[in-house]
Amino acid sequence: MDDMSSRKPNALDLHVPAPRARPGDKPDFSGWSFPEPGDTPRPDIDEPAHDLREYAYGLIRVMDMEGNALGPWTPQISPEKLRRAINYMLLTRAYDERMHRAQRQGKTSFYMQCLGEEAIAIAQTMALNADDMCFPSYRQQGILIARDYPLIDMMHQVYSNASDPMKGRQLPVMYSSKKDAFFTISGNLATQVPQAVGWAMASAYSGDGRIASTWLGEGSTAEGDFHAAMTFAAVYKAPVIINVVNNQWAISSFQGIAGGENTTFAARGVGYGMPPLRVDGNDFLAVYAVTQWAAARARANLGPTLIEHFSYRAGPHSTSDDPARYRPGDEARMWPLGDPIERLKTHLISLGEWSEEQHKAAHEAALETVRTTGREAEKVGVLGPEAPPTHTRASMFEDVYKEMPWHLRQQRDEHGV
């Protein structure tokens, strides 16, 4: 194949995208340019989708790096609510850190952090109503935290212990809580996206006022499910927000492998006639503002919105991979749009509503909460190599169907339980 003499004069060449930097290289963000914070206009919520196409190629930003909130997208949020937000973000990060370590200590099989992406789930949850239905991927634990779901139940789930609400059936982090309008997480990628569209259609069908919101990574926008979701959402004007969290990496594959070399992920909305908003995912205020816009549009029966959250996955994909094997180690630190917690902190301090001391105390309080809650959860049990499963063996056969059919009863009996 490499013998050029045998190549045809019109020989084609296969293009396989590759990231600019791999381990050992310097992170390279050269040539990237973003609109300035405050520069992007805010359209009315009833603006026709075809007039919104340019938003797919820009980036909605509110906060500058000095913490000033600028421009028409600046949301009206009380300082009290912003302090709540930063506390949720700190708690999420502390929780992630502890559970990641717990896996390393052999207390569970698996864990996934959302390091660097905390603003997305938390700002969006705080912008939505408490009963709006969320269909998350596995990296939106911030939704449960911002809905004040008991942290200990999240830990019980991760430990698959006797108090795990999922009865030890699911891989850690695959939470479910119907009462908190949080759909059971699948683990198969993007399947939740068209399901969210169906839920939203059902809400509209039933004359309900609730909307749905769903999240997937940029990598899984390549799945057919995403395109099915976009088609159905657009066709039936479903009251749903479809969030693509572009954190640049799908395990070891950079976003170019999902099609990001040629266009933005927000631009997927253009072909479906859906408003395509592209937002700085590390800017709490901007994420909050676009979510409010999309939610108001959906509630006005004007249909779905696609939001691309431009962010960076600062941690590994999961406890099963080492990012140092596929990307430069300091890429996260060099990310041009900063860290979401630091940026909200800077903003709050610039407002005079927060201080370094308060931040330190809040950080300590979050660490203490996960420490004490963690100890309580571990008393119930962990999923260690030596720890026996804490659910009854017979429970394995339950909940396959509403009523257990004869063949499962027989298999349960054969198993001697």
Binding site: M133, F135, P165, M166, K167, R169, Q170, M174, S176, S177, K178, F183, T184, S186, N188, T191, V193, P194, Q195, A196, V197, G198, W199, A200, M201, A202, S203, Y205, S206, A212, G224, D225, A228, A229, T231, F232, V235, D399, V400, Y401, K402, P405, W406, H407
Partner: protein, 337 residues
């Protein structure tokens, strides 16, 4: 009572349930205005409005996923996959999602959806309009698989599926939509109106899932069948004069093991008939069950009469189709032991 074809009976089941329960709605390709390519949803859009019976984009993946989301909301969606052969893009949503949501959420969320799909050959449909993929569903924990063989059963079973709180796969033997085809393709098919099971009540009734029906009592051999093959098996018994006990399974999962065992213990012989390909087909499961439960009563090896392990051929359709002569040969082999 009215005389109905299977199509009319299915339409009546949907009509009955949409009338009774505002949470029941139906959608699929060409299902709305046109009433479906086989007319199972005819007039439903006119009667119930386009929000309750509507056309879907040509995307089975999306149709199934949207139904999962609707069912999780609390509706009882009934979706039509235009041909069972088009089911594969929906398979992940059915297998990884619909089937497991109750289990994975420990009962927090449930998915009471019904997936209708016409299946089977003998209609000159070629390899993309003739398949019988039932074993791809019976293999999946969390799904129930149901196949009717008469208009009366079709309505009662479909209503049971719609009211079931778990996802159900309802496979419609399209070769017998308009009459009980008996496998003799060169003979005239009698219409459903001449068949007793075309007497279908206009209103609500159910046939419980998991209950088989002995459609022909007999002593010589048990024949296990479902869908179109029930009628082919009956024709084989009639043609041969063999006193076969023909059992219409009606539900494949959960299967009515008691009826099967009682029959095979009586006859000591068993022939299994299905149109699907043989290897890892549902007949393999039936054969294993009969062996496990009835081994010491068996007088002869269990026989399978099935489609061959080839794609469904177009011009050689009647070579592939398990016709009465093939069933008769199998019955003779097991009864002459």
């Amino acid at each position: 009572m009215a005389s109905m074809t299977m199509i009319q009976a299915l339409n009546s089941a949907l009509d009955t349930m949409m009338e009774r329960d505002p949470n029941v709605l139906t959608f699929g390709e060409d299902v709305g205005y046109f009433g479906g390519v086989f007319k199972v949803t005819e007039h439903l859009q006119t009667k119930y409005g386009k929000k309750r019976c509507f056309d879907a984009p040509i995307n089975e993946n999306g149709i199934a996923a949207v139904a999962v989301g609707m069912a999780a909301y609390g509706l009882r969606p009934v979706i039509e996959i235009q041909f069972a052969d088009y089911m594969y893009p929906a398979y992940d949503q059915l297998v990884s999602e619909a089937a497991r949501i109750r289990y994975r959420s420990a009962g927090d969320f449930t998915v009471p959806m019904t997936v209708r799909m016409p299946y089977g050959g003998g209609i000159r449909g070629g390899q993309t309009h003739s398949q019988s993929p039932e074993s791809l569903f019976t293999h999946v924990a969390g799904l129930k698989t149901v196949i009717p063989s008469t208009p009366y059963d079709a309505k009662g079973l479909l209503i049971s599926c719609i009211e079931d709180d778990d996802p159900t796969i309802f496979m419609e033997p399209k070769r017998i939509y308009n009459g009980p085809f008996d496998g003799f393709h060169d003979r005239q098919v009698s219409p459903w109106s001449k068949h007793a099971a075309s007497d279908v009540p206009e209103g609500y009734y159910k046939i419980p899932l998991g209950k088989a029906n002995i459609v022909r009592p007999g002593e010589a051999v048990t024949v296990l069948a479902y869908g179109t093959m029930v009628h082919v098996a009956l024709a084989a018994a009639k043609e041969s004069g063999i006193d076969a006990e023909v059992i219409d399974l009606r539900t494949l999962v959960p299967v009515d093991i008691e009826t099967i065992v009682a029959s095979v213990e009586k006859t000591g012989r068993c022939v299994i008939v299905h149109e699907a390909t043989r290897t890892s087909g549902y007949g393999a499961e039936l054969s294993a069950l009969v062996q496990e439960h009835c081994f010491y009563k068996l007088e002869a090896p269990i026989e399978r009469v099935t489609g061959y392990d080839t794609p469904y051929p177009h011009s050689l359709e009647w070579e592939y189709f398990p016709t009465p002569p093939r069933i008769i040969k199998a019955m003779r082999r097991v009864t002459e032991v």
